[in-house]
């Protein structure tokens, strides 16, 4: 009990302390190692949280089935990314894209970001969750702009403006939730505590809840990157350092989605409130189809995979919007798989861009010849991300498509269409990147392949076999999501 609570605290405090420390310490080797170490400790804490029994929900913090999934995933990917970032940043220092000061700043910000995301996940208080997500957003804004090139600044600026509008909308939604709550629960802190809300939501004013959900969907949807609120996402991914792109795609989007899910639960628990499904389904479909067409004209490799993140967020939102045990299960699975796969892809892409000295797709060819590990890793990742077996995303897409077509055939058509169009684009680019006459530098890459192949290995394993506890747990969550 106590131990478990300590674990929660640790999940929050370790990154915070590390951030403070890293902000002060100089020197690449030390800080990079420290970064990895901190991430690793957090991971241990998270695992103890997962295995040990859970603390009672307090007024501020909460651990339940839903967020434990996110927490573990979040911290795990955070750890692997820190390993990747160590070797990545080393190269950036060599070619002088990063000065030591910025390096310090980078590592500190990295830990702050981890802290913010963990806080958002464990928060039992809608206000606190909001604060945490905004903190995460602002941190990433600063990191996206870290290279200080024109493009980077422009991307950061765009991200910042859109993000803060999202902040505002989400805050308004949160206020509305409070206003809906306080006639029932009474004034004060309780009216913002998640567990209390979910108990009494039946008596809330449905109209206020609907309004609140609209604002929350748009506010947090901006972070999820749903079209047409996605504009910040591609450029932020393309211009920031690659580890940040990995974290953005792999984690931040999930955290925002998690917030949306929380409020979806609220609405679902209130009989008169509008069904949140159709909104999410339509936004998901729009994002999916839009992004899959946008994939075709991309010249920048990182921007392309950013669009593919939009596409997959669309699929996940669609799945949760459909609801039902199968679709929800698929949604959760897809989210986990997408985090692992997409970050693995970004690991590969980061090294590729460093080796070839360009992010321009047209200038990269024949990778499987020149850099077999990177090349085949990329092929593996793209195959996984396009939902081909025997990898995890295939299972989730299988479940989504089949269950949708059985229930709402007309919705399945655009879904399948989008999937196919997106696959066409990704495969087209992959053909150029991985095969054909090699071009560009053939210098060996001093890369850390471990994180990438660990992720891909997990994805492969999950595509074939899911351990029963995981399943039971997913199914519980899926049932809870209704």
């Amino acid at each position: 009990m106590v131990f478990a609570f300590d674990a929660v605290a640790a999940v929050l405090l370790i990154p915070l302390g590390a951030a403070a420390l890293l902000a002060m310490l100089p020197g690449y080797h030390l800080t990079a190692r420290l970064n990895v170490l901190a991430a690793f400790l957090t991971l241990l804490a998270a695992l103890s949280l997962l295995l040990g029994e859970r603390p009672e929900p307090g007024p501020y913090l909460l651990i339940d089935d839903l967020n434990i999934v996110f927490i573990v995933l979040n911290i795990f990917v955070g750890f692997t990314t820190s390993v990747f970032s160590a070797s990545y940043i080393a190269h950036e220092l060599e070619i002088g894209r990063l000065t030591p000061t910025y390096l310090r700043f980078y590592h500190a910000m990295y830990q702050v970001l981890m802290f913010a995301m963990n806080l958002a996940l464990v928060a039992n208080n809608v206000g606190l969750m909001w604060v945490a997500i905004e903190l995460a957003t602002l941190t990433t804004v600063l990191m996206v702009g870290i290279y200080r090139t024109h493009e980077a600044l422009e991307a950061a600026w765009k991200y910042f403006i859109l993000g803060s509008v999202g902040i505002a909308l989400a805050l308004f939604g949160t206020i509305l939730v409070y206003m809906a709550a306080h006639p029932v629960i009474g004034e004060g802190l309780d009216a913002m505590v998640w567990t209390t809300l979910i108990d009494h939501v039946g008596a809330f004013d449905p109209a206020l809840l609907n309004l609140a959900f609209v604002f929350l969907l748009l506010g947090y949807g901006t972070k999820v990157g749903l079209a047409p609120l996605h504009a910040w996402l591609p450029d932020a991914h393309a211009e920031g350092p690659t580890p940040i792109s990995a974290v953005l795609s792999g984690l931040l989007l999930n955290v925002a989605l998690y917030a949306v899910l929380r409020f979806k639960l609220l609405l679902a628990a209130n009989p008169e409130a509008l069904a949140s499904g159709p909104l999410m389904v339509s936004m998901g479909l729009v994002s999916l189809v839009f992004a899959s067409f946008m994939l075709y004209r991309r010249r920048d490799i990182k921007r392309m995979f950013a669009y593919s993140s939009i596409e997959h967020m669309g699929i996940i939102t669609f799945a949760f919007g459909m609801g039902g045990p199968i679709a929800n299960f698929a949604g959760l699975l897809h989210m986990v798989m997408h985090s692992l796969t997409k970050s693995a892809i970004f690991f590969a892409v980061g090294h590729i861009a460093q080796v070839k000295g360009t992010q321009n797709i047209a200038d990269i060819r024949g990778l499987t010849e020149t850099h077999p590990w990177l090349g085949w890793g990329l092929v593996f990742g793209v195959v996984a991300i396009s939902g081909l077996p025997p990898l995890g995303i295939f299972m989730s897409e299988f479940l989504v498509v089949t269950s949708t077509f059985a229930r709402e055939p007309l919705l399945a058509i655009p879904l399948v269409f989008g999937l196919l169009v997106a696959f066409g684009a990704l495969l087209l680019r992959l053909n150029g990147l991985a095969f054909g006459e090699p071009c560009g530098s053939t210098a060996p890459a001093e890369a850390s392949y471990v994180p990438m192949f660990v992720h891909l290995g997990l994805v492969l394993a999950a595509g074939l076999y899911l351990p029963p506890p995981l399943i039971a747990w997913f199914q519980k969550v899926a049932a809870a999501l209704g």
Binding site: H150, L189, D235
Partner: protein
């Protein structure tokens, strides 16, 4: 007493909406800034009034924050920036005043229509306030959308936040968390905006967002 309190709160909130309309109406930066300062002032008043009628002293803090930061500091700083950049002469609305005003009308109507569905069970003050707050928010967004100039967009953004504050204070007994977060967000917003304006001037010598678009990736 209640009736009066209600009326005053009502009046102040209405005043905010009116000021937002005036902001829409401005096409010069200086004028825009001045209106915004006034806007913030009225906001501070209404927050204070809420603090009074809810006898929630901590709201006075919020009022002061609004007063100091929004009514004085920010407008002054932005004045400086405008002078330094010498863009005070620019006409920078995207679409004509007329259509903008019409759109504003529509937005206010919309927010009221949405709010009317809320059952009167929730206390009327909150409900009316919320209607106004929502319209202030939407108008602020409209300002952002119709302004070409970064400064204009910042102002629009902050009037939007005023709407938020209005709503937050309208909600009876909303915990401190919220105010802090509001202030916090404004603070961060201001700082980072400052940083960016600074960098942007240093690099592009203008704050016109168009300048940024020329450096967009993939534009070949």
């Amino acid at each position: 007493m209640d009736g009066l309190a209600f009326d005053i709160a009502h009046m102040l909130a209405g005043g905010l909406v009116l000021l937002s309309f005036m902001m829409l109406y401005q096409d010069r930066l200086y004028a825009l800034l001045n209106i915004f300062a006034f806007h913030a002032l009225v906001l501070a008043l209404s927050v204070a009034w809420q603090a009074f009628i809810q006898d929630a002293p901590h709201l006075y803090i919020t009022a002061t924050i609004a007063l100091v930061f929004k009514a004085f500091v920010i407008p002054v700083v932005l004045h400086r920036i405008i002078q330094r950049l010498g863009i005070h002469r620019e006409i920078e609305t995207v679409i004509g005043i007329g259509p903008t005003m019409l759109a504003g009308m529509g937005l206010v109507a919309l927010s009221i229509a949405v709010m009317l569905q809320v059952t009167p069970g929730a206390d009327p003050v909150a409900r009316e306030d919320l209607a106004f707050a929502l319209s202030v928010l939407l108008l602020g967004l409209l300002v952002m959308v119709t302004r070409r100039n970064a400064v204009g967009q910042v102002v629009g953004f902050m009037s939007l936040e005023n709407g938020l504050v209005l709503a937050a204070t309208g909600a009876r007994g909303m915990p401190l968390v919220v105010e802090i977060s509001v202030a916090f967000s404004i603070l961060i917003a201001f700082i980072v905006i400052g940083i960016f304006l600074f960098r942007i001037r240093e690099r592009f010598d203008t704050v016109d967002v168009h300048a940024l678009d020329r450096h967009r990736g993939e534009r070949q």
